[in-house]
């Protein structure tokens, strides 16, 4: 008889133990690992990248991520950026979000990171590789086309212009140039006298602008393909006292550019969405760590902003990131 007790007791004990295990398991599942994600941009200090940083930090707060935001002192320091990526690999970051300063030269180190199991999300400027997990940024061809359309809108179909691009070889520069050229090619009346590169140096852009205007007094408009060239051109034109006479079609929305837009030095800006690049870059990096499916290519969009529409509620939100 006592054997039956033992069997019964055994069975009951097993039931209890199993149910306790079920409970314990449930409790354990709540703890989460905190991932470390490194965001490497083209440079640390510029307003555009500050907004990227805001987006990245917003995502880091929301998803409880250890965020390291870094970049070289200036955009030409490609070796410096490569070194930063190497550093991230060395400390075994969980993921890297990269805005590549060079379309080609960042490829080996980015692929090295991917090969060592670190997901790489590229934002803003892509690299010549299809191995990276995702690209989050402006469709630069499209943005380039918008520059062209805005130029036609502000200046007309008959004009003489110059283009101030930024870094020769950077993917975003090349794509914007191509997009712009495509639009302009529809208008034979538009004469592009020169395309110059300011190497993302505002002072150089300012100097280039003055040189262009001096060499080509008949010029109607200057097309700038990033924030540095836009700000430099605006300063140059403002100094020359030619505000409103020589039209500036620019890129991005730093406070300085907005001031020049309000003053009428700049007539039109193609505004990207750096906040979304930072936010989505980090968010997809996390998704990639967690092996979730992420889109290969995300277009964060671009808008044409001028003095008339800049304070429309929707454009306010784009131009002036809401700091929390």
């Amino acid at each position: 008889m006592s054997r039956i007790y033992r069997i019964a007791l055994l069975v009951l004990t097993i039931i209890i133990v199993l149910s306790l295990f079920g409970c314990a398991k449930n409790d354990l599942s709540n703890s989460e690992e905190k991932y470390s994600i490194k965001v490497i941009v083209k440079n640390r200090s510029h307003a555009f990248w500050s907004v990227v940083q805001m987006g990245a930090e917003t995502a880091a707060r929301e998803f409880n991520i250890d965020l390291v935001f870094d970049g070289p002192e200036n955009e030409e320091d490609i070796d410096g950026q490569i070194q930063l990526v190497e550093d991230a690999i060395a400390i075994d970051s969980d993921a890297i979000v990269l805005a590549a300063s060079d379309y080609v030269r960042l490829v080996p180190v980015a692929e090295k990171a991917i090969a060592s199991g670190i997901p790489v999300i590229v934002i803003d400027s892509t690299i010549e590789s299809d191995k990276m997990d995702s690209f989050v940024g402006t469709d630069n061809m499209d943005a380039g086309k918008k520059v062209g359309e805005s130029l036609i809108d502000k200046v007309g179909t008959e004009c003489t212009i110059a283009v101030i691009s930024f870094v020769k070889g950077a993917a975003s520069a090349t794509q914007r140039e191509t997009g712009f050229a495509e639009t302009v090619s529809d208008y034979p009346g538009v004469e592009v006298i020169e395309t110059v590169y300011c190497n993302s140096d505002e002072l150089l852009a300012q100097q280039l602008t003055k040189d262009i205007v001096q060499d080509n007094p008949q010029i109607d408009a200057i097309v700038c393909l990033n924030a540095y060239s836009t700000a430099g051109a605006a300063r140059g034109i403002d100094e020359l006292g030619l505000a409103g006479e020589i039209i500036i079609i620019g890129f991005d929305s730093t406070p300085l550019e907005i001031t020049f837009l309000e003053k009428g030095v700049i007539q039109s800006l193609i505004v990207q969405n750096p906040f979304n690049m930072g936010y989505l870059g980090v968010k997809y990096a996390l998704d990639s760590i967690n092996n979730k499916k992420i889109p290969k290519n995300v277009n964060t969009g671009s808008e044409v902003i001028d003095i008339d529409n800049m304070y429309l509620p929707e454009n306010q939100k784009l131009l002036f990131p809401f700091t929390e």
Partner: protein
């Protein structure tokens, strides 16, 4: 190890069969008790669960409302504070002099020094000219106050407090803060004329954010504020909403008056609680997630589950214990009864313990067993007595008759001067009786039994004037054993009276004693008339009568042997009419004890 396991495994079904016989009292009690309790507990559990879970969402909604009640009051107080600032401006600007402006400016400086949530206070004339801004920065002349929609509304509705949704302030060059703006009209006396001016208080989000963040709606829950047109006033992730990376179900909120509703939002079920904010067209919306509730729910489920499991385990154990306590004495009783059933009455009295009923049953059983034992002993004794008296009666029956005949023969021989015969016969008779008596022992040596039958045959041969011959063959080995006494004489007597006596020719009686396997075999063979088969069948059945008929002796011997040694032994008869009869007697081997050998 393996074999041990096998053994246990073999035992399990056996034990299970024994233990869980559906009809046993124990299993009936255990099963019914457990079933009833489990049913009850399960029903209680389900009841508890459903009452809790029914309440859970209602509770969550109402607690969210309560939590938000406070936030609402705080926000309303805040708005009231802001209106108060407007009121102070109104009061101070009733009569506008450079002095009054200076005083107001000082007052505002002091206020703004204390309140970090106020970005700018400004006063404009009806044309949009700046009277005062605090703090002061480079005015942005691109910004045309009188063209702004809020300004027009304020001037045309001076008694209203107009609250604008967040926008980028553009009053000053290079400064583009996001603000919530509250404006109101003021009626002023300026240069002898009554004019309508506008006062504007721009707020940043620090205090609103604080008010909203102070409220806890679970781990992921939050509060946001929206105006009646669906403009987001405040949201903890405002820029994400502005960037289109997040959405809120604003149209549902706008349809909602006050209160809570459950919505399925981006695949998640959540509770939205809407509160209207006085003094404004704002609505405060609290979001709490149902799956956080569900986590609590899950905890509750577990809790109830564990209580149930432990309860059921306890009940099963308790009922097993109880039922075994009840059924154990009954089982013990059953076990004893089984032994009795198999004929074993040599059992001790059961211990009287357990419940009243079982005690009484045990007592009755004990009483019954002792009564049965008593009765059986009585019967055995009686039977023994009966057998003894029968035996004695038989002995008493034989002897006088035989004695009379023998004495008659002796007298007859004496008259014929046969002195030799007289002395032989008398000696034989003496020996015969000596062995018959043999100190009253029931068991005698085989030699004595043979001598006894030999004396008897001698006497009878003389009496029957040599009408028969006899021979006695005893295997040497047979002398080593003992036998029940007086078993051969009745058979021989039978052979003479009913066999030899009925034939004309000379009779032959042969007595043999041999050891066969496990028993001693005596056989008495005669060539007499024989016994008819129908009689043969009846010999052992016949009731003893006073009338001396053939077979009485046979039956007597048979019964005595069987009484002494059991049914494996006894007498059997082979007989052929007019050929003769052989009577075989089988008894067990009883070894002769030393010292008794030559008595």
């Amino acid at each position: 190890m393996k074999s041990k396991l096998k053994r246990i495994l073999k035992k399990v079904p056996k034990a299970a069969r024994r233990g869980f016989r559906i009809n046993s009292i124990q299993s009936i009690i255990t099963l019914s008790f457990s079933a009833v309790t489990m049913l009850a507990m399960t029903m209680v559990g389900i009841g508890l669960y459903s009452s809790f879970s029914d309440n859970a969402e209602v509770n969550a909604a109402s607690s969210a409302q309560q939590i938000m009640e406070q936030a609402t009051i705080n926000l309303e107080n805040y708005l009231e504070d802001m209106m108060e600032i407007s009121d102070i401006i109104r009061k101070n600007m009733r009569e506008v002099t450079p002095n009054s402006i200076q005083n107001l400016d000082n007052l505002l400086s002091l206020t703004l020094e204390m309140r970090k949530d106020i970005v700018t206070v400004a006063i404009y004339t009806g044309n949009g000219n700046v009277i005062l801004t605090n703090p002061v920065y480079d005015t942005d002349y691109n910004y045309q106050i009188h063209e702004q929609e809020w300004f027009k509304q304020t001037i045309s509705n001076p008694d209203m407090y107009l609250i604008q949704p967040p926008y980028v302030q553009r009053l000053f060059e290079g400064r583009r803060p996001w603000v919530v703006s509250m404006s109101s009209g003021l009626s002023v006396e300026y240069l002898g004329r009554t004019e309508t001016w506008a006062a504007m208080v721009d707020l940043n989000f620090s205090l609103i954010e604080q008010l909203c963040n102070r409220v806890s709606l679970g781990k992921r829950g939050y509060i946001y504020i929206v105006d009646e047109y669906g403009n987001i006033i405040y949201h903890p992730q405002q820029q994400l909403l502005y960037s289109g990376l997040k959405q809120e179900s604003i149209s549902e909120v706008l349809e909602q008056e006050q209160g809570s509703f459950i919505e399925d939002f981006q695949g998640e079920s959540r509770i939205s609680t809407v509160k209207n904010i006085q003094f404004s067209n704002w609505k405060m919306v609290g979001i709490s997630y149902v799956d956080e509730l569900a986590e609590n729910q899950w905890d509750l489920n577990n809790y109830i589950m564990y209580i149930l499991i432990f309860g059921i385990v306890f009940v099963i154990l308790a009922s097993i214990f109880l039922s075994s306590k009840i059924s154990k004495p009954i089982k013990r009783l059953e076990h004893q009864m089984n032994r009795v059933e198999q004929g074993d009455f040599d059992i001790e009295n059961l211990e009287v313990k357990g419940e009243d009923e079982v005690k009484r049953l045990t007592k009755a059983f004990n009483l019954m067993i002792s009564r049965i034992k008593q009765l059986m002993e009585q019967i055995v004794n009686e039977q023994e007595e009966k057998r003894k008296s029968e035996f004695k009666a038989l002995q008493a029956q034989i002897n006088p008759h035989f004695l009379y005949n023998t004495l008659d023969s002796i007298i007859w021989m004496n008259e014929n001067q046969n002195h030799q015969g007289v002395s032989e016969m008398t000696a034989a008779l003496a020996k015969f009786f000596r062995i018959s008596i043999s100190k009253g022992n029931e068991i005698i040596d085989v030699a004595d039994e043979i001598e006894h039958v030999g004396n008897y045959l001698l006497i009878q041969k003389i009496r029957y004037k040599n009408k028969f011959d006899y021979s006695i063959d005893v295997q040497e080995q047979a002398y080593g054993y003992r036998t029940l006494k007086l078993i051969l004489q009745p058979i021989v007597e039978n052979a003479i009276y009913h066999g030899i006596n009925k034939i004309q020719e000379k009779g032959e009686i042969n007595i043999r004693a041999v050891v066969e396997n496990d028993h001693l075999l005596f056989s008495v063979t005669d060539n007499g008339y024989g016994i008819k088969p129908e009689r043969l069948k009846e010999i052992f059945k016949r009731e003893p009568t006073n009338k001396r008929t053939s077979g009485v002796g046979l039956k007597n011997v048979h019964e005595r042997i069987q009484l002494s040694y059991g049914s494996g032994f006894g007498v059997d008869i082979e007989s052929i009419i007019e050929v003769g009869t052989t009577v075989n007697i089988r008894i067990p081997l009883i070894k002769l004890q030393k010292g008794e050998n030559n008595e």
